[in-house]
Symmetry: C2
Amino acid sequence: MGLYPVDVIGDNVVPRLREAFSGLPSGIRELVFLHFDYTGRPEAPLEAGKLYRAALTVAWDRAMGGDGSRALHAAVAVELVHNASLLHDDLIDGDRVRRGREPVWVQRGPGAGVLAGDALFFLAVQELNAAGFPLNTYGVAELTAAVQRMVEGEWADTQVPQDVGAYMSMCDGKTGALIGAACVLGGLTAGVTDHSLEQVRAFGLHVGAAFQITDDLLDLWGDPERTGKPHRGDLVHGRTSYPLLAALGAGHGASAVLRSLLVPGAASRAGAADRCAELIEEAGGRAAAEHQATHHLEQALKVLKEVCPDGPGKDVLTTIAHRAVQRSA
Amino acid sequence: MGLYPVDVIGDNVVPRLREAFSGLPSGIRELVFLHFDYTGRPEAPLEAGKLYRAALTVAWDRAMGGDGSRALHAAVAVELVHNASLLHDDLIDGDRVRRGREPVWVQRGPGAGVLAGDALFFLAVQELNAAGFPLNTYGVAELTAAVQRMVEGEWADTQVPQDVGAYMSMCDGKTGALIGAACVLGGLTAGVTDHSLEQVRAFGLHVGAAFQITDDLLDLWGDPERTGKPHRGDLVHGRTSYPLLAALGAGHGASAVLRSLLVPGAASRAGAADRCAELIEEAGGRAAAEHQATHHLEQALKVLKEVCPDGPGKDVLTTIAHRAVQRSA
């Protein structure tokens, strides 16, 4: 079994993404192709990242008894929203590397990044609207509400949360909302309509928290060759993270030294980011983050046990949940 | 009768906009309030511009026999999309004045402009999705398709069209698509389902063309006190416009002089923009633009005569169409 179980995610998501692009006007489509590193040829490869959210949608659909047909549209819609948010976030954060390449806003200007993101956001709504009931009604309601929470989380992120509490609240929006919606959409396409959808969402929020904290850990101690992002970019760009906030709040001797190094621009000086990473580890920030990620994974698995019938679908969801934490990219 | 007939647009659009805002998370809501210059108090005024598109939606609904109840939601959705596009466009174009004030991206940073726009785009979809049939299905399809064409037009605009043909094609997307959709949505809420919807759209495209060319004329020869935008901002920022392209393509002696002045940044030197405006007029660009705006108004009125039943609704649409050209803001 690879990073994501091919029998769940199938070969269907990327072909359906390619089909969805054909609905875009030609100028914007070219920018979208650039984002996905896609030539536009029918069988050409496409850099769509891990498709983690799509896998969750398809897996929840299967686990709750769906046949996968509508779930594919929901999975594609969720990935389109995710990629739209990357296009906008890279511009907002001033990030110059994504998936090992320059983002659209660097290659073609800030306007290109904004407009390509807008197009993908609306393509996601079109994908759900064209997929019939329940995606064109409940599905659109679910996804649009998730985007509002995601946007709020992204705004909160630009305001730099000052402690782990504020950070986790930001993270529930920025990362959790869409991952939660990805799960709920899979439940919806399988025909789930009762209160158990809220448990499906709770699973997604916990997975999202584990996922984001793991992202933070990978930024500090991952292999940039595999993440496709600059090493310690969060520190260099003055962004906050769970390990950093946990270290600063630890009251350890290293916490104070760390704080003194976090003057604007300091971490971008050669060596400063590495020194900060050492201090974060010394103050216990790395261990706290790993503990917190594991905690959320365990909570997700607990909810899964309650809400999901036993079977191969549940096993796949268990695997995907573990991948939130056990990954290198 | 004021700028827009109060018996069509009513007092309902602004109150419903205020209600729609309440669905936004608090951080983003604050940015949206800033955009609308709104304090958040229930009865406080709100700077929502001319509500031109909302008026078209409500007027088409009435003219085709609707009762106005669903049309209000469609009208609000269209205005939300329009305002989202302003938030993004002001950032993309680097515009520092909108409705006589600094745009959100200037007041709170580029990220605020991007994210507040994203939130309004999705609020528009939420408004339609919550309004029941046909807005939650056909209405969402209509609006999302219009946004794709609008985004394509905005991208084409950043690529600076080089002749009036390319300019009008850009304009059909940037301005016409949403105005066309505003009209079609009014037809939809009135229960129109046949091919006459395409005539309703054609009316909107012609009105949109007349509207955009008039915007261009107001930029050059309007009163900045009334437009709320800097005088001759298009020239100063190196943006193209119908009068400019018509003048450059006229083969007049003034066309060559004008071209020699249009080196990057030249028009921002004191006096240069005024001199360019004189040359545009001398080369016939102003007259050509006025003629073209009048032509599109006449085409719109011709379509209106064919598709719209006689009655007060038709009279109101006639008035609104004329306002595309006869206005100072």
